[in-house]
Amino acid sequence: MDFLGTTSLGLLRAVPVTVLLFLASALGASLVAAVLVAMQQARVTQGLARAWIFVFRGTPLLLQIFMVYYGIAALGPIRHGFLWPAFREPLFCAWLAMTCCCSAYIAEVLRGALGAIPVGQIEAALACGMGRWTRLRLIVAPQVLRLALPAYGNELVMMIKSTSLASSITVLDVTGVAQQVIAHSYRTLDVFCLAAAVYLGMTAALTAVLRRIERSLDPLGSAPR
């Protein structure tokens, strides 16, 4: 097989690593984000949630990844503690950093959506005697999901792209493999264009899925009022 063929195959073989990292971080970040938004509703926990969001949105993800992989992992209690098997793994460290970082961004998206629910619809729920949980389940959560979806989708696309930073701590994802191939072939432009195409494929697929979900939540095919 020619060079481009083998390289494409090598890059495609790395797609599962990228996808795994993306899915695991998306799941983790969304859960943490929900907790952050819940924390922002109570005065006691508000400060902590705010600080978390401030720190993780205000510093580069690359630095956070290094911090977890080199900085935190070098601390005594981690190095000699029961968590060491996890912190030894670059993939775990990349996942942890991405979960923390992206949770801050997603929390902001969710908070925005929460604020965008028309007050009257909450009042209507109150007026017919819905309790806190019924309200959350029936009115608030579905509306937040629908209102947040476009911005949430943007965050997910950003996350796919951010997974490439894991290559900087030796994870062999698509970018990692691309750099490996370049290191012994020196065919920079070809390899990067192939890698770019792989990422474009992934982001396009994600965008298509998101659009599908958006449409299924909005059966009229038009924006909500």
């Binding site: 028309p118 109150l126 007026a127 017919c128 005697g129 309790g131 509306q143 909500p224």
Partner: protein, 256 residues
């Protein structure tokens, strides 16, 4: 359900201020089963705030409220600030009432049918099939029979308000609160909603209506209440209120 007293509403000494401005300055109001009470007043008179105090969407600073034998669970902390004493009792009070809003406030992510069955199924625990049956009946009653599967934003304002009324009827409330139900409607849509409310009054529903529709107040209500500057300026049956012996202040309000 054996209600010996026909009293549905008893509100005493309701006061409320926003940021130091007194909006309600002591309102007493009673309603018996079957009463249709319209509350009239200029904008800023406090009439909507009063209505929203009754189901505790606003917390009154002072006063007591009793609706169909259930007392509003109001308490006051050391600084006199009002709070809900018991959230469970709060929802119990709210399930005795239903509210129709000026801006309809239909839940935009639910179909018409889901809007109507939400409270019966999820608050009152009515089996879904039974609630759906009843909802279809109510939709027919409000003239929206063919619209069960529609989404709120596919409907005109008048249609949305009629669905909102069906939603309010779905729990068979003891007291219906209408907060300027026709103010957000096009003039030609006002009628369809007023006609529906007229029909409800004819059935003996107990209704409290904040409105600007004078003709409706005169023809349909059993009592007319004029609120001005946060107090009841005058009240009485429409024959009196719209007759020659009405209070001069109310007469001035009617013919500005």
């Amino acid at each position: 359900m054996t209600q010996t007293s026909p009293s549905v509403l008893s509100a005493r000494g309701i006061t409320k201020s926003f940021g130091g401005r007194a909006v309600l300055r002591g309102i007493d109001l009673d309603a018996q089963r079957g009463d249709v009470v319209t509350i009239l007043g200029g904008s800023g008179s406090g009439k909507s705030t009063f209505l929203r105090c009754l189901n505790l969407l606003e917390l009154p600073d002072a006063g007591t409220i009793e609706i169909a034998g259930t007392r509003a669970p109001l308490a006051h902390d050391r600084h006199g600030k009002a709070r809900i004493a018991n959230p469970k009792a709060l929802n119990a009070l709210r399930t005795k009432t239903a509210m129709v809003f000026q801006n309809f406030n239909l839940w935009s992510h639910m179909t018409v049918l889901d809007n109507v069955i939400a409270a019966p199924v999820h608050v009152h625990g009515v089996p879904r099939a039974q609630a759906v049956d009843r909802a279809h009946g109510l939709l027919e009653k409000v003239g929206m029979a063919g619209f069960a599967g529609h989404w709120p934003r596919q409907l005109s304002g008048g249609q949305q308000q009629r669905v909102a009324i069906a939603r309010a009827l779905a729990t068979d409330p003891d007291l219906m609160l209408f907060d300027e139900p026709t103010s957000a409607l096009d003039p030609e849509r006002v009628r369809e909603v007023l006609d529906l409310m007229r029909a409800l009054a004819g059935e003996g529903r107990t209704m409290l209506i904040v409105t600007h529709e004078m003709a409706f107040a005169r023809d349909v209500s059993s009592h007319v209440v004029h609120v001005r500057d946060g107090v009841i300026e005058s009240m009485g049956p429409p024959a009196l209120m719209f007759g020659p012996d009405a209070s001069p202040v109310f007469r001035a309000f009617l013919s500005p």
